[in-house]
């Protein structure tokens, strides 16, 4: 245990080391595939080999003849499911193939190897239809959705954005295009399911960001009361949104266990992930900014066209952050979506904000160039007094402070603003800035706190630690709420048998869980104060449920803000862009653990670097799937790509959030960081690139042109 935060009342904010760190680095931490139980079988799905059509025949005879193969499930013999709310979970229910990679069969076998061989031996025949997988801004089937799916309206308009733009003194009218991106967490999606004898109880180990949702979903699909299902997600090797909802692996494992009466593990191979666990949908942006000659925005339009699948509607809400950022009397933010024969998109770290702020913050940089104004000053000049879209006051907003502090630390004042003004031999050097924002989200949760006779405390809550340090920070919250030393508090998380809690997503986990933990601990402390002597044998406990509190409508606009600065070197020989340093300053309420928070910020910034320079999935028009299907071809940044990266924060006291005073920090690091890198590339080269990732092929061609 860390030596920090050991005296009562000093835990919050301390850089406590994550409690499961030793288990992880020694390999003792068990992940979803690592729960061997007697008789466990393995199952391997068979992905569809056409982009659109239907299965006309499945010949499983060769697969069933493979030694060790126990069963082959298809839409003809798989257990029937109730209609799921999320149609991507309706696996093996009908012969339709909505996209390439959709699962059309599942082979269950004694071993992983036999399952793989069996899957290779399944013969599937299709009636293939012509497919349409390419998104264009003028696609004839583009439509305006009812909303963005996350509660925000698809379109918002204030004043007369078109005419205000037309009469603006300075105008920027630009198109940006962000390609599909994939979450690719370290641990691929995996589930082990086990029905007990008589099919009365179901236990599932799964790699998920939220076990409560998994339990409720399985209960609905399989018609089982939720209290007969236990979902365990003890250690989770990352998710970045792709494990925020249950995925086909958990449904298939449960089906296969039901069918065979054996515990079954479905561990999706990396190559299957791009098609079945979501992706960030591509976004085509058109941004129009009109400003006065002294840099005041008069009109702001951000229009986004994106794709979804034929399975369900998912809208990447990329125009939403433009409703928060800048004061502009006339504005329009709008989304359109096209249903294509593509895999179903889903959440990926900062859905909406990441691509939306890439485009918006790049366009703001273009406006600064057009005005001949410093991009930091331009942002400061357009700082709104209230949230532009709703008119609500901000609970706290320290964007300007982040920009100023970042500029000071980065050495922004020494920058020669002229593009292509700095060279070192064949290298062009440039620096860039961009702003960040992410909303405060919080959901009701329950928790239990118990005082034990030995003087220790246990906090129980079905939170999920997806690698962020949730176990640790919840112990910190509890210790301070109880007024005891951190090492006296233990946390139990990651099982649906614990008090129910929302998912680790939307940067809301710590706020939601911490609120309930705080309440439970405050109540427990009151009980202890009334109780003479040590707690009895089983201890004293208290529960809390924050329903009605955590989800109460706030009269404030609540968001975290930040500023990114980046320096890049562009090699004029090869077109290679390499980041030299990145610096972020964030204002996200009270920072609850300085060590794990820094990891979150740095991780997000690194992911933004990937978005700017290396990451992208290519839709194969001929075959209808993504060309990159492993970590050799989908280029997440490696250590050599991240030389110097600093994350700082401004202490923010905000009483309108939750008892800890915290805002979420899991996502804001990625928001705006890609724009800062892109803006630095423009500063270095004088060329504006609007289609990340900025790989050598694009950069070299533009430099030559």
């Amino acid at each position: 245990m860390a030596p920090t935060g050991t005296s009562p009342g000093t835990s919050l904010g301390a850089p406590a080391e994550r409690r499961e760190g030793r288990l992880k680095v020694t390999g003792a931490a068990r992940y979803a595939a690592e729960h061997p139980m007697p008789g466990r079988a393995h199952a391997r799905p068979v992905p569809a080999a056409v982009a659109r059509g239907r299965v006309t025949a499945v010949d499983a005879s060769a697969a069933l003849a493979v030694p060790g193969v126990l069963a082959v499930l298809t839409h003809e013999n798989a257990p029937r499911l109730a209609d799921p709310e999320d149609a991507t979970l309706a696996v093996l229910q009908d012969p339709d193939v909505p996209h390439r990679g959709w699962f059309v069969a599942l082979v269950v076998a004694e071993t992983l190897e036999a399952a793989r061989a069996g899957a290779a031996a399944v013969r599937v025949e299709y009636a293939e239809e012509a497919h349409d997988v390419i998104l264009t801004a003028d696609h004839p089937r583009a439509y305006e959705p009812e909303d963005t799916g996350s509660g925000q309206p698809a379109v918002r308009e204030h004043g007369h954005p078109a005419s205000a733009f037309g009469s603006a003194e300075v105008r920027v009218d630009v198109a940006y295009e962000v390609p599909p991106l994939h979450n690719h967490p370290m641990e691929p999606h995996t589930s082990t399911a086990h029905w007990d004898r008589g099919r009365k109880r179901l236990t599932v180990h799964t790699s998920s960001q939220g076990g409560t949702t998994v339990r409720d979903t399985l209960a609905a699909l399989f018609g089982l009361p939720g209290d007969r299902i236990t979902v365990v997600a003890d250690h989770v090797g990352g998710g970045f949104g792709s494990k925020g909802t249950p995925r086909p692996d958990v449904v298939l494992a449960t089906m296969a266990s039901l069918h065979t009466g054996r515990p079954v593990t479905v561990a999706l191979p990396r190559r299957f992930l791009p098609a079945v666990v979501g992706h960030r949908a591509p976004t085509l942006h058109r941004i129009r900014l009109g400003a006065t000659a002294d840099g005041r925005l008069t009109s702001l339009t951000h229009e986004v066209t994106t794709h979804t699948s034929r399975v369900k509607e998912f809208v990447e809400p990329a125009a939403v952050p433009a409703r928060v950022m800048y004061a502009a009397p006339h504005s329009r933010t709008a989304h359109r979506v096209v249903r294509l024969d593509v895999p179903t998109p889903s959440w990926m770290r900062a859905p909406g904000e990441a691509p939306g702020m890439y485009a918006l913050e790049s366009a703001v940089d273009e406006l600064a160039t057009g005005l001949g104004m410093d991009p930091v000053e331009l942002r400061v000049r357009n700082e709104p007094a209230r949230e532009p879209d709703t008119g609500k006051p901000f609970s706290s907003r320290h964007l300007v402070e982040c920009l100023r502090e970042g500029a000071r630390r980065f050495g922004w004042a020494e920058r020669d603003p002229r593009p292509r003004s700095r060279a070192e031999g064949p290298l062009l050097i440039g620096t860039g800035v961009a702003a960040a924002t992410y909303p405060v989200q919080v959901a009701p949760s329950t928790a239990e706190a118990r005082a034990l006779p030995d003087g220790s405390f246990v906090v129980r809550i079905n939170a999920t630690d997806i690698g962020t340090g949730a176990r640790t920070v919840l112990a910190q919250v509890a210790a301070d709420s109880l007024g005891v030393a951190l090492e006296r508090v233990r946390t139990e998380v990651g099982s649906s048998d614990l008090p129910s809690a929302p998912l680790a997503g939307g940067s809301s986990g710590t706020a939601s869980w911490g609120w309930a933990v705080h309440e439970a601990c405050v109540r427990l402390a009151a009980r202890l104060a009334d109780h003479a002597g040590p707690p009895p044998g089983t201890g004293l406990s208290a529960r809390a449920d924050t329903a009605g509190q955590a989800d109460a409508e706030s009269s404030y606009a609540r968001h975290a803000f930040g500023a990114h600065f980046a320096e890049v070197a562009v090699d004029t020989v090869t077109g290679e862009v390499r980041v030299r340093r990145m610096l972020g300053v964030f204002a996200a309420g009270r920072i609850l653990n300085a060590r794990t928070a820094r990891s979150q910020f740095v991780g997000g910034m690194t992911m933004g670097l990937g978005m700017a320079l290396t990451e992208g999935s290519t839709m194969d028009a001929a075959f209808g799937d993504f060309a990159e299907s492993d970590l050799a071809s989908y280029h997440v940044p490696v250590n050599a790509d991240v030389p110097e990266i600093e994350a700082h924060w401004i202490e923010e006291a905000d009483t309108h959030l939750n008892p800890m005073g915290s805002k979420g920090i899991g996502e804001i690091g990625i928001v705006g960081s890609a724009a800062a890198v892109g803006n630095a590339v423009h500063h270095a080269t004088g060329v504006r690139f609007r289609e990340p990732p900025l790989t050598p092929d694009k950069v070299l061609s533009a430099l030559a042109g």
């Binding site: 992905p47 080999a49 493979v66 030694p67 060790g68 076998a109 071993t111 190897e113 036999a114 793989r116 061989a117 290779a120 190559r271 064949p426 020989v573 090869t574 077109g575 290679e576 390499r578 320079l613 290396t614 290519t618 194969d620 028009a621 001929a622 075959f623 060309a627 990159e628 299907s629 050799a632 071809s633 280029h635 940044p637 490696v638 250590n639 050599a640 790509d641 990732p693 790989t695 050598p696 092929d697 694009k698 070299l700 061609s701 030559a704």
Partner: protein, 330 residues
């Protein structure tokens, strides 16, 4: 489950016999590529003859000054070898530009030469590929082919060879030593790999059962300037978009010796013979280098999405030659 035999050989002769006795056998080196392809179902050997522990793990200078590298020398060890760093910097640089530290620790010299293309269609059994399954067609031709060949491709196959090491060996005039039924022989690295033509499934001139026993680099005891440069999508652990290995000796302002090879442009390391001819005896100037490289790349036939490779390769080659010329005269 597909089972396969496994035998560990202790001598070259034993390896060759074990291979001959097992139809459908493959030699196993570091396994960094073969095992991956077995998992994908692309490679389906009936037996593996493990040659990774053969006594071919030495780097030795021969009496004539040439350097013999055993086939099982690991990429990391070869890159770090003092004689390689000193006399063949292009080889050391190429090795270090490849893969990751972990992979280089496992990968062998012989296995590196025999690694297979990373074309995604080759790796995906649900798609056509003439290399994997002759006669099925080429998925990449109309698919995603930004990373594919611009030189020497055929209608049957547009894949590239992924090795960095082999590009340096080709420019350095190295030879591959082979051992088989008919005894030992050697071939130049630059002629070891084939162009796809009508038989993309045949990737090298290796004969059935032949084993790579080593690679021999010609003497460079006096020191010949050489260098390798690679352009890639990220700073490490990425295959080349284009790469170049060059050997250049300048005497009295004129090119006295030239070796040039490109990587990631073709189905094999592309020895730039035409450019070398143009360079030899000519002035060691950037303009002359550019003309020579252009003479080579005039044969390029870019595909829909990879035209960038031609100017990229050109820029890399001119840059490396210019640096070498400057170093040689400075």
């Amino acid at each position: 489950m597909r089972s396969f035999g496994y035998v560990r050989a202790t001598s070259v002769e034993e390896a060759a016999e074990a291979f001959a006795a097992r139809p459908g056998a493959r030699y196993l080196g570091g396994g960094t590529n073969l095992v991956d392809l077995m998992k994908l179902g692309v490679e389906r050997p009936d037996a593996l003859v493990d040659v990774s522990r053969l006594p071919l793990d030495r780097v030795e200078e021969l009496p004539d000054g040439s350097l013999r590298v055993g086939a099982t020398v690991r990429n990391s060890d070869l890159a770090a070898h003092p004689l390689v760093r000193d006399r063949y910097p292009a080889l050391s640089q190429a090795l270090l530009a490849g893969a990751s530290g972990q992979l280089r620790n496992a990968a062998t010299t012989g296995g590196n030469l025999l690694q297979r293309t990373r074309c995604p269609y080759f790796q995906d059994l649900s798609k056509p590929c003439n290399k994997r399954e002759p006669g099925t067609g080429c998925g990449a031709r109309d698919g995603v082919h930004r990373d594919h060949a611009v030189l020497g491709w055929s209608e049957q196959c547009i894949a590239t060879h992924p090795s960095d090491m082999a590009v340096a060996l080709a420019a350095l005039d190295a030879r591959v030593e082979l051992y088989g039924d008919e005894g030992a022989r050697d071939v130049p690295v630059a002629e070891f790999h084939r162009l796809p033509g009508n038989h993309p499934e045949r990737e090298t001139v290796i004969r059935a059962g032949e084993l790579i026993t080593g690679v021999v680099l010609p003497a460079a005891t006096g020191g010949v300037p050489s260098a390798y440069r690679k352009a890639r999508d990220r700073a490490s652990y990425a295959f080349a978009l284009a790469s170049v290995a060059a050997v250049l000796r300048v005497s009295d302002g004129a090119v006295a010796q030239a070796g040039l090879a490109f990587g990631a442009l073709a189905h094999r390391p592309w020895r730039a013979v035409r450019a070398e001819e143009a360079l030899l005896g000519g002035p060691a100037t950037t303009e002359a280098f550019a003309r020579a490289v252009d003479a080579e790349l005039a044969a390029a036939r870019p595909l829909r999405d990879n035209a960038y490779k031609v100017p990229l390769a050109r820029a890399l080659a001119v840059d490396v030659l210019t640096r070498l010329a400057r170093a040689g005269t400075g």
